[in-house]
Amino acid sequence: MATPERVVLAAAGVVTPIGQDLEAFWSSLVTGASGISQIERVPVADLRVQRGGEVKKLGRIKDWRGVPDCRATRLLIAAADDLCAQAGFRPLPLDPARVGVVVGTALGGVEEGEKVLAGDRGRRRLPQALYDGPGWALARWLGARGPVITVSTACASGATAMAVGADLLRAGEADAVVAGGYDALCRFVLRGFDALRSLTRDEVRPFDRRRSGLLLGEAGALALLVRERDARGPRLGTLLGYGSASDGFHIAAPEPEGRGLERAIRAALADARVSAADIDLVSAHGTATPLNDRIETAALKRALGRRAHEIPINSIKGSLGHTMGAAAALEAFMCLLSAQRGLIPPTLHLEEPDPECDLDYVPGQARPGRPRVMLSTSMGFGGCNGALILEAA
């Protein structure tokens, strides 16, 4: 079988609770900063848990004229603004018809739906409430006139979006693709996770014996993907492979043995044409729920074999919360920045390792290391499992 065309991440841009550009995001990760705080933008007084990874003020863009008054859209566009700054362009230096947009989200513009149902009759609210509304708004802001695709594989959405973006390039449908993920904190999701009792009142402690749940966060994370033969100048790294698999087990709970995640990892390794022995770093989904971290540990052991015990594995959700549709993209960027900067960010708040999570989960401080090939895993509602394989530039 022919080797698929290689796709590189030429640049990336983010807006997160720990920094509103890629450098600030990275600095906060390696210094162990936390973006968790009392949620202020939406009412939470009636909720059991009132904290999360909230972006306090979207300071990147001063003039929002022409952009819908939609939090999700603005997070996405703020991330795109950073991407343009990192890549050194705007408008796009390409034929707009050859630039695609692929974004992943768990919630789309659902907050706009909340406003509509609360009586807001604004003309633009309803189109934004559909889950693909923010993606189309991003395309308009960028001036991109190629394919616009929204994927919603729950909390694996960011990984799926980058894989679909790479497919667009390989199929020749676009010459550049802005791909990634986003989600905003809103009443809808806060109330939902609060009801599910998935949220912790403690710190988010991935792989820690005392872990008691996750906290939600909001973010936007976008990469500029191009075919390797078209890439000019510096780049972050290469997207080598992607794998996905359904659990086919339960609507909200992961399959207890992590078989779906294991299949996704194996599929990603095969797609990337690398073996477990090639993996130097794993960015785990690591939500800090009692079930997730144990299941993920078991899946990593089976999929990577002995190699799982030899390599660093981290989770950045202790720093910024679970950013849902943005999570996988942010974690992919973290992997590539680790390779570029020679440092592996720690798993924040991991202090007492769980004997059932007995891999090297990088507690304490950032650790020197320059991984070459990296695996990033994602799991989501509905048994959505995704895995990305990335290679250093």
Binding site: M1, A97, A106, G108, V110, G113, E114, V116, L117, R121, L126, P127, L130, Y131, D132, W136, R145, G146, P147, V148, I149, T150, V151, S152, T153, A154, T160, V164, D167, A171, E173, F188, R191, G192, F193, D194, A195, L196, G243, S244, A245, S246, D247, G248, F249, H250, I251, A252, R259, G260, R263, A267, G380, F381, G382, G383, C384
Partner: protein, 296 residues
């Protein structure tokens, strides 16, 4: 790229002539609440919903599907869109003369497409109908998840949000997965329901071609001969659209495919659609899979 062969196609449609349909024919504007927590079906008579029509000459109608009856405690909380998806897969298996075991396992890919089917469950959760524990059912991902759980589908998956162009893209993606050997069969599932958000669609009446036709469809593809090609272009207009009568959003191309099969599958088929200003076309010479009926 090699064109996939059609092994089966199941469709439940709100068309008046269809036995699946229930017609809602009142002048009521408010949406009917979702049937949260109901273990059984809405087994009332078929009906069509007509909405207030202040500025448009055409009647604003929604041709609705009933909530399918599916026994079992597991479906107590399942949403109407989930149950319709399961019924569409049942219909597909019947069309393909195959048992459910034929699509089980890791070698079956599942691609789900919808523009708005999640609207009903999102609205019910926002309006606190059915209780907050239904939150998990608000995710678009639960529709294919119910299919995966019920039929044991455990292979690659994808979920695209959008109208007809997204479905055409999903068929092309399925062709790519089959050609690459990533799977042995691929299911393209599309579900669109409108009734619970009827009043909201009426507010944006000019954006859609009425009537809105609720549809759940599942297409079973396997490796085949021939060719398939996909193209899309943008014209910047925010208009939904399909080729057949009425509006089915993402389910439109599969209804068109059904009609083409009904005409005897003469020659290649061109499926097309539009959503938010994107136009897409799929040129395809599908064949019926030779395996059809052999795995029952």
């Amino acid at each position: 790229m090699g064109a996939p062969a059609i092994r089966g196609l199941g469709i439940l449609s709100g068309e008046p002539k269809s036995a699946d349909a229930r017609a809602i024919s009142s002048e009521s504007t408010p949406a009917k609440p979702a049937d949260w927590g109901s273990a059984g079906a809405i087994s009332g008579p078929p009906h069509t919903k007509s909405l207030k029509n202040e500025t448009v000459d055409r009647p604003l109608q929604i041709l609705a599907l009933p909530r399918p009856d599916r026994p079992g405690d597991r479906f107590r909380r399942a949403t109407r869109e989930c149950l319709l998806a399961l019924a569409a897969v049942d219909a597909m298996l019947e069309d393909g003369k195959a048992s459910r075991e034929a699509i089980a396992g890791e070698r079956t890919a599942l691609l789900y497409v919808t523009a708005a089917a999640y609207g009903a469950s999102n609205r019910a959760f926002i309006e606190r109908r059915g209780g907050v524990m239904h939150f998990a059912y608000t995710a678009p991902a639960v529709v294919p998840a119910e299919v995966a759980i019920e039929f044991g589908v455990a292979g690659p998956y994808g979920i695209l949000i959008g109208g007809a162009p997204a479905t055409l893209r999903a068929i092309e993606q399925a062709a790519r997965l089959l050609e690459a050997g990533t799977c042995d069969r691929a299911l393209v599932l599309a579900v669109e329901i409108f009734e619970e958000c009827a009043d909201l669609y009426a507010r944006h009446r000019r954006s859609y071609r009425w009537p809105l036709v609720e549809t759940a469809a599942c297409l079973w593809l396997e490796r085949g001969a021939g060719a398939i090609s996909f193209e899309s272009a943008r014209d910047g207009r925010w208009v939904a659209g399909a080729t057949g009568p009425g509006e089915r959003f993402a389910a439109g191309p599969l209804a068109d495919l059904r009609d083409w099969r009904g005409r005897g599958m003469a020659g290649p088929v061109e499926l097309s659609g539009r959503w938010r200003g994107e136009q897409a076309r799929l040129h395809w010479s599908p064949e019926e899979s030779h395996a059809r009926g052999s795995a029952a």
